[in-house]
Each structure stands twice: as structure tokens, then as C-alpha cells.
Amino acid sequence: MSGASLTAAGASAPAYQKVGSIRRERRWALIGAYVALAVFVVFFLTPPFHMLVTSLKSSSEIADLAGNPWIVQSPTLENYRDLLHEGNYLLHFRNSVIVTLVVVAITMVISIFAAFALARMRFWGSAVLATGVFLTYLVPETLLFIPLFQIIGGIGLYNNLLAMILIYPTLTVPFCTWIMIGYFSSIPKELDEAALIDGANHFQMLWKIFIPVALPGILAATIFAFTVSWAQFLYPMAFLVSSENMVLTVGIASDLIRGDTFQWGKIMAGALMAAAPPLLVYAFLMDYYIAGLTAGATKG
């Protein structure tokens, strides 16, 4: 948080003899910066822009090859309206929200406890576990989902949202635990000693000291878990079949593509609306995210 506002202050670097050259250097650096930014913003935003334009077109305008694909002739909100009033889009949205919120909650509980234990309360195998947690990402989803069919089928959760709630944490927990370990280790040991001397137990210590102090890290982990759960594709594709059980990522593809009829206007509208929750989350929590990642990842 603080970092963002401090950067500008870098300008007030000690200016002794070489004031002029530094200023000139800085100006050129700024111009270069804006040019680079402009180039990449164009690259990054071209597809979303095209999505936006397409989402505002009627299907006949999209199908019209004579038209300019980058311009809307007669903008319409009909795609958005149709999505919100018909079909299962809202249901998919709701499912995505439910799964994501539950998974984020589960993830945070699991990883905060685990990270606290691993960072502070060494026990047999804790060091190996702390590193090993990260290595779980080495096992690819395309390998796991075949055995998972049997596990999920065995407990009767095939084609059920609960299966997602069960599986997603395998994708979120390791990285979040990793961030949290880094963050917790950066908290000075004197703090817990003081707490222990005051007679606090470990839960109180975690609740009263670690969580408040590590809040930026917790937020960073939360955002990560949110992004991953919101965007996951392979598992819902593999495990969800009925439209009413689907989450957004698979729901959009399976309900708005009917055979060779790609309802592009609606697909784009659906995609943009699907991007809104993470965008909002980032917009509000970005500074915490950056601060949190720094502490977590560098001091791991």
C-alpha cells in the first residue's frame, strides 16, 4: 500500500551536482515508459475491445461479412438482456459465486492454519512439508482428473457442484499456504514470545497477532484463490454435465454454442460479465495484493 505512494517520492532523490542530467534522463524514461505502456495496452486490450464491440452487436450484424468487425453500426444491449433474462446464465453465475466463495473460505482456513503451524511450530517433517506443498503443482490436472473420476464417482458427487468445492482447493491451497508461510515467517518472533508470556494460547496468538499483522498477505492469498477458482476450466468441464450444475467457464461454452451456432454476441457479453467480479476484486484490493505478494514470495 505504502509502496505505491512512495514511488513518486523517488523523484526527490538527492539532487546535488547532476540535477539537469538526472531530470533529462527521467523525462526520457517517462516518455519511453508511456510508449511501452501504450504498445502493451493495445496488445492486451485488443481482444477485450473486440469482445466488447461484438457483445454490442446483433447476431445479423456479426454474421455480416461486409461490415467492419471492429465497429458497431447499431449498438444493442439485447445480448446482455437476453443473458440475464433467459437461459441459465444467471444460474451459472450463481454457481460460480457459490463455488468460488466456499472454496476461498475453505482455502483460507486450511492455509492459514497450516502456514501458521509450518512457519512457527516446527514439528517432524514440517520443513519438508513447507517446500513440498509447492511441489503439488507439479502434478498436472490432466493426470489427476482420471483417478479423480473414480474418487468423485465413488462418493457419488459426479455432476455435482460439491465436487468442485472438494477439488478446487487442490489448486488454491498450496500457493496460498506458500504465500502465508512466507508472510508469517516475516513477523518478528519477539511478538509471539510476548504473547506467550502474557499467557495467550496458540489460537489467540494466531487470531490476535498473526492474522491482523499479516492481513495484506491474507488478502493476496484470497485474491489468488478467487482468481483460480473463478477461472478453472478443466475440472468443471470433466465433472459437470447438466447445464443447471455448471459454472460460468463451462456454462458459457456449452450453452451458448449450439452445434455450429456460436452465439458470439452472447458469448462475449457473458465473458465480459464473467470478468467483472475478478476485475472489481482487483480494483479494490490491488494495493494489498502487491504488498502481500512481496512479503510472501520473497521471504519464503
Partner: protein, 315 residues
């Protein structure tokens, strides 16, 4: 595990060790039991839904196609003799390595550029540059696919506008490889950007000031201050991204489904085609497992380096 707890208990850090041994011993034992309990949910998730299926998948990869007979490493040996699979290995490496390098470079440049901006403008630019990362990739890839579609391609429309011939983006092996890498870079670069930006912000300004006083040029500051300070985060981000990119599935699956001529298949999509679509689940598992040892060795080295450096920094 429980024995282990008792055994290690005396090794508890001295920081909290006042000289009342009996009580300490009890306390420490209770503490490590508690710690174990706190880690239990993590162990359950990893053990039940990653480790167990992982070992089961290893077992699967050693069965014959009908899953009736144990064949040892035959599936792996068989794969190595397949021309198509050799291509898949090669393509996965090209895909992952070039995409990660491009993402890392772009992320690094953008983070730097953002870092030099005044705080107010920075947030706006940062928001715009983050957009590719927040749209679920399965859906944004669909949008890219539409941009590449031979009939409706809006990119070709622009090319034609400037008089260039249309490109068969997904039809020619070379272009198709380029396209899948491009989309992966587009999606992943913002992640690097945030990670690096975070790291840059953690570099104390005094270091730059000191360097400036010593007369360091911009390049020298980058070389001797920024990069060393960011070593760990670069290592972690590259490692994480490399693993995830090697395991990528949705981008290739949606854009090309491995075609043309299997020239864009990577491990994930090829495993899917062999295992699920053609019904050879053991062989599919073997394909997915192929990268594991190499990446594991790489990961262990990187992680050890990170741990060592952070200890040095902390000490």
C-alpha cells in the same frame, strides 16, 4: 507421525526456552501435536486429492490398454519410440519455454515502466494491463479463436485493410504454434507484471539513491540493484509459471485441439486425446507423467536456491 512429534519436540527453537525443562517438554509436545492438527486439513487435501490420485495414476500408467495387465515401464518406452510423441515433447518445451520467457520479459518491462510512473496514473494503467489476467482464460481463448477464425477473422480483416494477405492462423503449423504461444503470453504476462511490480516496490529506495551517488547508470542500477533484489521473486514466478504452462490445457484445446497435424499438441492435450478420446487411459497417464521428473528436479533446485537466498537476506 505421532512418534515423530515426540522425537523432535526437544529440538524446538531455543527462542522460547526458559530453563524449566519438564514444563517445556510438555508444552512442546502439546505444541507439536497442535501444529500437526493444524496442518491436518492441508495434509488431507494434498494426500487425498493429489498424492493418492497421483500414485494411483502412476500405477495406471503401468497397465496395458485394457487395464488388465501390469506392464511396468512399457508405456513410457513405447511413447519414446513414437514420432508423434517426440513432437509433443519438443512442442511442449518450445511452448512452455518461449511463453515463459516472453511473459517474464514483458512482465519485467511493464513492471519497470509502471514503477517509474507517478502513483496516480500508475493505478489506471495497471488496471488496464491486468484485464487479460482477470477474464477466465477458457473464455478469452474463445474470443481469440474468433479473432483467428478463417471466415470471420477480424485480424485478417485488418491485414487485408493494409493490403497484406490473410493468414491461416490456426491452419499452418508454424502460425498455429505462434498463435497458441501468443495467447498464452497475452493471458499470463500480467501475472508476471504484478509479481515483479510487487518485488520492485519492496526494493528500498535508499539502494537506488546510493547507486545514484556512486554514479551508476540506469542499466547498472538494473543490473546491480534491481535484479539481485528481485532474484527470489523472479525464480518463484518463473518456476510457478513454467509448471503451469507445461501443464496448460485449455488454450491449446480450444484454439487448435492439437492440430494441424498434431503440431500444437502439448502434454496436456495429447494426454487427453490419447487417454480420454481414444480410450487408452494408461498411455494418457504416461504422457501426463512424462514431464514430472524433469520439472521436479528443476523445482527442487529453484526452491533450494530461494530458501538459501532468503536465509542469507534474513541473516
Amino acid at each position: 507421525m505421532a512418534d515423530g512429534n515426540v522425537l523432535t519436540a526437544p529440538g524446538i527453537p531455543a527462542a522460547v526456552a526458559p530453563p524449566r525443562t519438564g514444563r517445556l517438554h510438555r508444552l512442546a509436545r502439546r505444541r507439536s501435536t497442535l501444529a500437526f492438527l493444524m496442518t491436518l486439513p492441508l495434509l488431507a487435501v494434498i494426500g487425498g486429492l493429489v498424492a493418492y490420485p497421483f500414485f494411483y495414476a502412476i500405477y495406471l500408467s503401468m497397465l496395458n490398454k485394457r487395464m488388465t495387465r501390469f506392464v511396468g515401464l512399457d508405456n513410457f518406452a513405447f511413447l519414446l519410440t513414437r514420432e508423434t510423441f517426440q513432437y509433443v515433447v519438443w512442442q511442449s518445451v518450445i511452448f512452455a519455454v518461449s511463453a515463459v520467457i516472453a511473459k517474464a520479459l514483458i512482465g519485467f518491462i511493464l513492471a519497470h515502466v509502471l514503477h517509474t510512473l507517478p502513483a496516480k496514473g500508475q493505478r489506471k494503467w495497471r488496471g488496464m494491463l491486468l484485464v487479460p489476467w482477470v477474464i477466465p482464460p477458457a473464455i478469452s481463448t474463445l474470443a481469440w479463436w474468433w479473432l483467428f477464425d478463417p471466415t470471420y477473422s477480424a485480424i485478417n480483416w485488418m491485414l487485408m485493410g493494409i493490403g497484406a494477405p490473410p493468414v491461416a492462423w490456426l491452419g499452418e503449423p508454424g502460425w498455429a504454434r505462434f498463435a497458441v504461444i501468443l495467447v498464452n503470453v497475452w493471458y499470463g504476462a500480467p501475472f508476471f507484471m504484478i509479481m515483479y511490480l510487487a518485488a520492485l516496490k519492496s526494493v528500498p529506495d535508499q539502494l537506488y539513491e546510493a547507486a545514484a551517488i556512486d554514479g551508476a547508470t540506469g542499466w547498472q542500477k538494473l543490473r546491480y540493484v534491481t535484479v539481485p533484489m528481485m532474484r527470489n521473486i523472479i525464480a518463484i514466478t518463473v518456476l510457478f509459471s513454467l509448471i503451469v504452462t507445461f501443464a496448460n490445457f485449455d488454450i491449446v484445446r480450444i484454439l487448435t485441439n492439437g492440430g494441424p497435424q498434431d503440431r500444437t499438441h502439448i502434454f496436456g492435450t495429447y494426454a487427453f486425446q490419447v487417454g480420454i478420446q481414444s480410450g487408452d487411459i494408461p498411455l494418457g497417464s504416461a504422457v501426463s507423467l512424462f514431464m514430472f521428473p524433469i520439472l521436479a528436479v528443476f523445482a527442487v533446485f529453484v526452491l533450494r536456491g530461494v530458501t538459501r537466498r532468503s536465509k542469507e537476506m534474513a541473516g
